[in-house]
C-alpha cells in the first residue's frame, strides 16, 4: 500500500518479566497486516529467532542463566537491538529485590534440580549485550512501539508528562502535606501537585500521553527522566522535583525527599542513572525514545 510505513522483520524475546510489554505490542494491531513478526513465543509457536530477523525487541530483566543464554544467542542474529520497558532497561520491579534478605532467598533457591539457575539479582540487558535503542515505559504504549520499530527519530511527543496532561497548575492552592488518596475524591482538571499528590510528571519524559495523570493518578515516572535529566545523576533530578513542589506547595522538603525514595517511585526513577554496575556511563539521550 503506498505511503504506509513498512516494518522491519522483527522478533520479540521475553526474559523474566510480566509480559505487559508484549500485551501492549499486541494492542498495536497495525503490525498484523504486514506479517513481519517472526518470533514471539507468547503468540507464535516457533522455538528460535530466525536468521533473517532485522530487529530484536527484548523485554524483561535478566534473572537467571537461561535468560543470559537466550539473550546472547538472539543478539548475534539481528542488526538492531531495542531494550523495551523498565525491566530490560534497569532490571525493573524485580530489582526492588536488590537487598541482602532477598538475595539470600535467591541464593538458597539457586541450584534447584532441572531449573534455570537464578542470578543474585535482576539485571538490565545492557549489562550483557549492546543496545541500539531504549524504549522506556511500564509498559511503553502501542504508539511508542510502532514509533520505535518504524521511525524513532521523528516521534513527536512533549518533553515532559505535564505537557500532555492538561491539568491546570494553580498558584493559590498550596497543600501543607502530602495527602495521597486518604482524603478521598480527586478534583478534576487541577494539577495533582496542588492537591497534595506526589506527582513527578514535571520531569518525566513525555510520550505516554499522560494516561495516568489525566484520570487522576499521580505520575510514578515509568518513562524515566526527560532528556534534560537523563544523563545526570538522580540527585539533579530530585532537586528539580523538589523545586517544583516548593513553587506550588508548602510541603516540607524532607517529606518530599523521603517519599521520592519509596519503592513505587524508586523502581522507575533510577532506571537510567545510578543503575547497577557502578562506573558505567549513562545511556546517551539520543538512544532513548
Amino acid at each position: 500500500m503506498p505511503g504506509k510505513p513498512t516494518l522491519p522483520k522483527f522478533a520479540v524475546l521475553q526474559l523474566s518479566g510480566c509480559a505487559g510489554c508484549e500485551v501492549s505490542l499486541i494492542n498495536a494491531s497495525e503490525w498484523v497486516d504486514q506479517y513481519q513478526l517472526v518470533y514471539m513465543p507468547l503468540v507464535v509457536s516457533t522455538h528460535a529467532v530466525p536468521e533473517d530477523t532485522e530487529v530484536l525487541l527484548v523485554s524483561g530483566g535478566v534473572r537467571n542463566d537461561e535468560d543470559v543464554y537466550n539473550l546472547r544467542r538472539a543478539v548475534q542474529i539481528v542488526e538492531r537491538v531495542i531494550a523495551v520497558g523498565t525491566c530490560a532497561i534497569s532490571g525493573g520491579v524485580a530489582n526492588l529485590g536488590d537487598r541482602d534478605d532477598v538475595r539470600a532467598m535467591f541464593m538458597a533457591e539457586e541450584q534447584r534440580h532441572h531449573l534455570p539457575h537464578l542470578l543474585p539479582k535482576s539485571r538490565p540487558i545492557d549489562a550483557f549485550v549492546d543496545v541500539d535503542l531504549y524504549l522506556p515505559g511500564c509498559p511503553p504504549t502501542p504508539e511508542l512501539f510502532m514509533a520505535a520499530l518504524i521511525d524513532p527519530e521523528n516521534y513527536q511527543a512533549s518533553g515532559i508528562v505535564c505537557g500532555e496532561c492538561g491539568r491546570k497548575k494553580l498558584k493559590d492552592m498550596r497543600p501543607k502535606h502530602l495527602v495521597g488518596f486518604q482524603k478521598g475524591e480527586v478534583l478534576p482538571d487541577i494539577c495533582l501537585i496542588n492537591q497534595g499528590y506526589l506527582c513527578v510528571g514535571s520531569s518525566v519524559r513525555g510520550g505516554c500521553r499522560a494516561i495516568c495523570t489525566r484520570p487522576g493518578h499521580p505520575c510514578v515516572g515509568c518513562r524515566g527522566p526527560s532528556d534534560a535529566y537523563i544523563e545526570k545523576e538522580s540527585q539533579v533530578w530530585f532537586d528539580r522535583v523538589q523545586s517544583v513542589f516548593e513553587r506550588l506547595t508548602d510541603i516540607p522538603p524532607e517529606e518530599i525527599r523521603a517519599a521520592l525514595h519509596s519503592p513505587q517511585l524508586s523502581l522507575f526513577l533510577f532506571q537510567f542513572t545510578d543503575y547497577m554496575g557502578g562506573g558505567r556511563p549513562p545511556r546517551p539521550k539520543e538512544k532513548v525514545l
Partner: protein, 437 residues
Amino acid sequence: MATLRFPLSRIEGHARVEIEVQDGQVVTAQFQAIELRGFRYFVQGTPAEQMPVIVPRICGVCSTAHHVASVKALEDIFGVEPPALAKEIRELLLLGQLVQNQATSLFIFTMPDRVGASSLFHMDESEADPHQQLSLAQRSLKVRQVGTNLITLAGGQFIHPIKAVVGGVTSGIKREPAEAMLKEVEALLPMACELFDEYWEMSMAMAERIGTWGDDQPAYYIASTGRSRPQLNSDVIRVLGPDGAERASFPPSLFRTYLDYEDTAYSYAGQTSYQGQVMRANSLARMNLALSMGTPLADAYLEKFTHTFGKPAHPILLFDLCRGIELVYAFERSIEILSRDLDYENTSVPYSLKDGEGYGLVEAPRGPLIHHYTVTNGLIEDAEFIIPTVHNMLAIERALKVAGERYVSPAAINLELEKAVGRVVRAFDPCIACATQ
C-alpha cells in the same frame, strides 16, 4: 527410562513439560514453571498504600485482577467500604480483563491448535467465507481490543491500571467516553458471537479428528463467582464436588482451612489441592457452578453447552468453549454497566491507615485470586499471593499423564503427543508469571 521434554509457546510466561517414559509406560508428567522474580519477598517493607501500583507488575496479562485484589486487601485492613460507583467501575475493569483474556486465549493461544497453524497470524484462509471483509486475525484483534479499551476507560493505564485506589476509584467515567465505548461494545458483540461460533465448530471438528476432548475424569471445582450470575468482584469462594454438588463455601480468610498447598522441587510454582483431591479453577469451574449467566446471549450459549456436554462437564478441552461463553457475557454485562450514569461525585471515601491483616478476593479469568497482607507500622510485613494457576497444577499434570498414555506405547511414541501437550496446557490457560511471581 526416557525423558521427553517439551518447550511451550502460546501461554503466558516460561514453562515446560517433562514426561518420563519407561517400557512404553508413562511414569510421570511434570509441568515445570521455570522463572521466579520474588514479589513476596521484595515487597516486604513497602508502604502498604503503594501495593496497588506495584503488584499489577506481577503480570501484564492479569494485572487488573492484582490491582483490584490489592486494593480490596488494604480496604479489609483499613476497614473501608468503597462507594457503589467505585464498585461498578471496578467491575467494568474486571470485565475488560475478562474480554481481553478470553479473546487472547481463544483466538491467539488456542485457535491455531484447531487447524494446525503455528499462530493466528499464519492461518490458512483460502477456504474462508468470501463475504468476510476482514481476516480471522483482524476480527479477533478487534474483539480483543474491546477488552483493552474497557480496561483503559475504567483503569486509566492500559496494562497496569491505576484508577482503583483504597476507598474507591480516582475518577468516574464521563458520559461522552462511556457512550463511545457503549457503541463500540454493541457494534462488536455480533462479531464476538460469530467468532465464537466459528471457534465452536473448529473445536467440534478437532475433537472428531483427534478422537477425544482430553482428560474427562471427574474433579473438584473452585470458583468465587455467584451461582445465579457471575460476580467478578467476589467475596466468597465455592468448591463443587465431582458430582456438581456444592461442598464448601468460605471467605478468602479461611483458604488454609480448605486448601492444601505443597511446594514442588521441579518447579518454581507449588500446587494446591482440595483436601488432597485434584481441583480445577478457571472457566470450566465457573460454568459448572453457574445456574445462569444473567444475560440473554450468554445464557443461550450456556444452555447449548449444558445440553451438549452435561453438567458438571469434565473433559478439559471444554475449558476453551467456556471461555467463549464468558466472552459473550462480558460484552453483554459491559453494555449494562455502560448504560448507567458513571459520572457523579462520590467516587471514593476518605480513610486512615491501620495496621493488621487483610484479604482481597477477585475472580480473575483464571480463577479465584487472593491477596493476603500483613501490615505493621504502615509497611507490608508479609504478602501472600494465592494464585489460581497454582490450583490447577495437579489437574494439568493429571491431564498431561492422560495425554501421554494415549500417545505412548511400548512400540512407539506418536508424534501427535507434542501437539497434545500444547492443547492440554493451553486448555488451562496457565499464567506462569503469576504462579511463580
